[in-house]
Symmetry: C2
Subunit: 636 residues, 2 copies
Amino acid sequence: MTYNPKNPKFINRDRFVLSNGHGCALQYIMLHLAGYDVSMDDLKQFRQLNSKTPGHPEVNDTPGIEVTTGPLGQGFDPGISNAVGLAAAEAHFAATFNRPGYELFNNHTYVILGDGCLQEGVSAEAISLAGHWKLGKLIALYDDNKITIDGSTEVSFTEDVIKRFESYGWQTIVVDDGDNDFASIEKAIEEAKLCTDKPTLIKVKTTIGYGSLMQGEEKVHGSPLSDDDIKQVKEKFGFDPKEKYVVPQEVQDFYKVRAEQGADAEEAWNALFAKYRAEFPEEASEIERRFSGKLPEGWEKALPSFTSADPPVATRKLSEGVLTALSDVIPELLGGSADLTGSNLTRWQKAVDFQHPSTNLGDYSGRYFRYGVREHGMFAIMNGLAAFGGNIPFGGTFLNFLTYGWGAARLSALSHLRVIYVMTHDSIGLGEDGPTHQPIETLVLTRATPNMLTFRPADGNEVSGTYLAAIEDHHRPSVIALSRQNLPQLEGSSIEAVRRGAYVLQDPEEAKLILVATGSEVSLAVDAAKKLAAEGTPTRVVSMPCSELYDEQPEEYKNSVLSPGIPIVSIEALGVTGWERYSHAQVGMRSFGASAPIKDLYKKFDITVDATVAKSKKVIAYYEKAGYVPKVGLEF
Amino acid sequence: MTYNPKNPKFINRDRFVLSNGHGCALQYIMLHLAGYDVSMDDLKQFRQLNSKTPGHPEVNDTPGIEVTTGPLGQGFDPGISNAVGLAAAEAHFAATFNRPGYELFNNHTYVILGDGCLQEGVSAEAISLAGHWKLGKLIALYDDNKITIDGSTEVSFTEDVIKRFESYGWQTIVVDDGDNDFASIEKAIEEAKLCTDKPTLIKVKTTIGYGSLMQGEEKVHGSPLSDDDIKQVKEKFGFDPKEKYVVPQEVQDFYKVRAEQGADAEEAWNALFAKYRAEFPEEASEIERRFSGKLPEGWEKALPSFTSADPPVATRKLSEGVLTALSDVIPELLGGSADLTGSNLTRWQKAVDFQHPSTNLGDYSGRYFRYGVREHGMFAIMNGLAAFGGNIPFGGTFLNFLTYGWGAARLSALSHLRVIYVMTHDSIGLGEDGPTHQPIETLVLTRATPNMLTFRPADGNEVSGTYLAAIEDHHRPSVIALSRQNLPQLEGSSIEAVRRGAYVLQDPEEAKLILVATGSEVSLAVDAAKKLAAEGTPTRVVSMPCSELYDEQPEEYKNSVLSPGIPIVSIEALGVTGWERYSHAQVGMRSFGASAPIKDLYKKFDITVDATVAKSKKVIAYYEKAGYVPKVGLEF
């Protein structure tokens, strides 16, 4: 592998992903040997608080870790799926920036994966796409040890893995004795490198816990070896059993040479890049800009703005307008959809598909990814695209299908990756497709997830503001919930205000009630406020496109929006759970939805102007009688 | 197919699953033709409120629908995965109850699936298991029309499907002209029936929208045909274009004969069953009991009970004890785990594995399913097992991996299926595995989901009570969150009380504070209450193993538990979102967890006796100053 331990972020380094992340002790040791900033003391702190060596590899904790993997064999391992994204990113940068004589981007992506990884459906999705995309620089080593936690793979995993990978269009190679025959492993990797239009699976037959007295048994998967066993293992492999935490000099020397080679490789690359800059100054500065994470100067000026005179439009359609506008000014935006392009409206007008050129459907410089009906694989691949650096991936599906890929979405948040989830058809407002498609519980999930932003914009300005806030936030993923149905452009809405999470849209003097709503229900709040005002209750309307950003505002600002002393009623056509933090009473869903035209559904589920007015009156009466209005969102 | 439209629940009927549920108009029409209680008027109400013909097939809306499928090609289709569960259930009942001369159970399970279904990872998981289990009575027809919503499958789906299914151990058959060559389809099905130790995939090459002017195009997938097009289609196939909603007499006659054959088949089965009952009275009444949904008399007496003198035990271990106790008295309990048997402790002592007998690892009468590392497939298969009737499936993984199969778990709730999710390692309390394994947002998701119960028992009695409540609840799935770590047996805990969702565990006179907690934090609440009492604040401790059941209690009971006028502090080592409904202040997680020993983590994240006491004092002081304590959980 080409890597420089002194600069773990060397752009053209080979990437390595340990898909079966529970084996991370090995990875930490390798990073230590290779010369990364992982000391012997760090190794001793394995799985301790605040260490560089946590229980599973995490991208922000340890230099040299490319992506957070981990969920053991037992959980799911997005590692291989992330690797598909990393390999796709390399292909994209190579196609976009390489020039004759300047192969700036040509790194390989290596993965080690286990039986457990291959049983998970997300891997099947990503592996199929890797074959479809012909990602020749992706090389996966399959540790075929025939053991999972429940024992022999015979109990549940008897498929023909080689044949399966061939069905996906991969090259396959088998190494029969992975315990001892290192030459064959090396040869297989060389062979894999020669195959440039197919990813390669190298099946390496191994013995789990090789050398231990428990070798070949599942027990050796998670349990520490006994002292006796450690002693005999060390003796067997020529180490002094009395010594611990020691690296023999010859091993140190070996890795020192490798580290120097890596430093040389980066130096050579830097020299090549300097020449490239002379010949292609624009491209060179674009590469630098993209990997530095700096956004193009003035990009936000491209965001469309609206007045209330503009016609009603579905926020998914407004999102398409924003993406079209931004596609020109932010070339690192890489889009896609899980086979719902025409519904999610994620493809901007001039987009080129990311495809192998032989397909005549696009090429690797294309920025639109056809993920097929593979939500989980899509999200994990987006994580890989983001982790490569220099990309802002976004991908679409229906909001209700966000949870089909939650394992990966959660890792976007945990890994601090700016990945944008464009989730359309965001409530019962989608109508006839019915409750299998209507999210109820989805947004409380995203809002309850640390380090993730949830947006539900109400109109054109808020859609623009949503993308402004999401793209500016370099270290968090954003979930954008968008309507299927048309929504009016609101008087008082604002692009900038979205950054504050919630803001006062309409404010009569001496408001006696606050209606707070999101997305498609903000206009309903406006109508209800009008009716309430006519009936003698001046009502403030608050739009809350992002409750997480609101939570981060200074107390003073928050008090100016959801002001203490005034009863608050929230309106959102999704489950009401979680709204108690922002309102005294909730208009929303308390059951699954149903299949019917939209207007029938809002009526059936009491999400109407009349229901809001009636509930508001009850709330006001209750607190008048009580003689107080408790403050919402108290933190102690 | 063998079916009796007059009794859609005929036990030995063939099951049919439309995996690509968006084609349900066809399914409704077929049900109408076949003589089910789906009238022409019902067909006219397609996708209207309260109709029998919703936008996607739902098991509780329409007679003859076996499982809720639906999420379009775009979403995910668990249909094929449900079908694997249905087929496994048939195999299990056949092995358990058939006797020489009495083939009571021998139905086939038919599935129609599309390209989209095959792209989804959950299908890959279930299909691999179906091959491993050699489910010979499972027959899948793959509608290979080369089109998904995004256009040609060439853009994202170029794998060799036949080869992939062969790698999974399926028989495969190809029908080249599915548009016209019905004889070959019929022949393929006959051939599939002959193969008894492999499931069969019949790839039927078709033209989407065959006969329409838009045939072969993705547009015909979702858009209604134009009037002109309808006219020419009808003419092409020999119908009168002027007629609508008409079934020709010869078609009616054809299906009438089929319906009579179905009624005869059931009659013959009933006669066989009568003879069986004479020879095997116990087995016969067991079959009747299981399909009637009645639980065995007195089963709940097997539930273990505990006193506070009993030693501390992890609730996952207590769950193992309950499952072992119940395995004898509830034979319809079918267990399993996604390769975490030794961690989830889901396998009772004398369990036999569900395996094909040729493996020598078990047989089809076995009740323990080795799902491998396939959470989503496991959940969808559990739905199929439950939908077959006569089974109570449960399955284990780590709580954090519940969301890897959320698509299926959500359908358990939407379909009213009693499926039990045994989710261990339920908080940061799992320790060193770190934040990739530590759930934060998971329980607010399950609690926000309609028609689903979330349990987090605190000790032995509550674990028994949890299973009592979960098993008694015939029409809801339950998620049971269990600790990895040992927990003390609590003074005052109760099996029965779990049915009420929350109850007073300890109640001093004139309590000035209420601590409400779940699971592993209830003992922390007890300790904090002791300290608070010593410092002059008599404190009630409430255990809330299931907030959803608590919500369903009468107001009077609720007021006796979380009594108005007393400040309430909640403690749960998961995300605090959602707790505002039950408490004035929250002790819990506001970030992801970390990798470290358990005691370091509780301290780092301020989930301790001291932090609880300190927060409680602040809350009391705040409301003393305010002069009121607002009621929690107000509904208007």
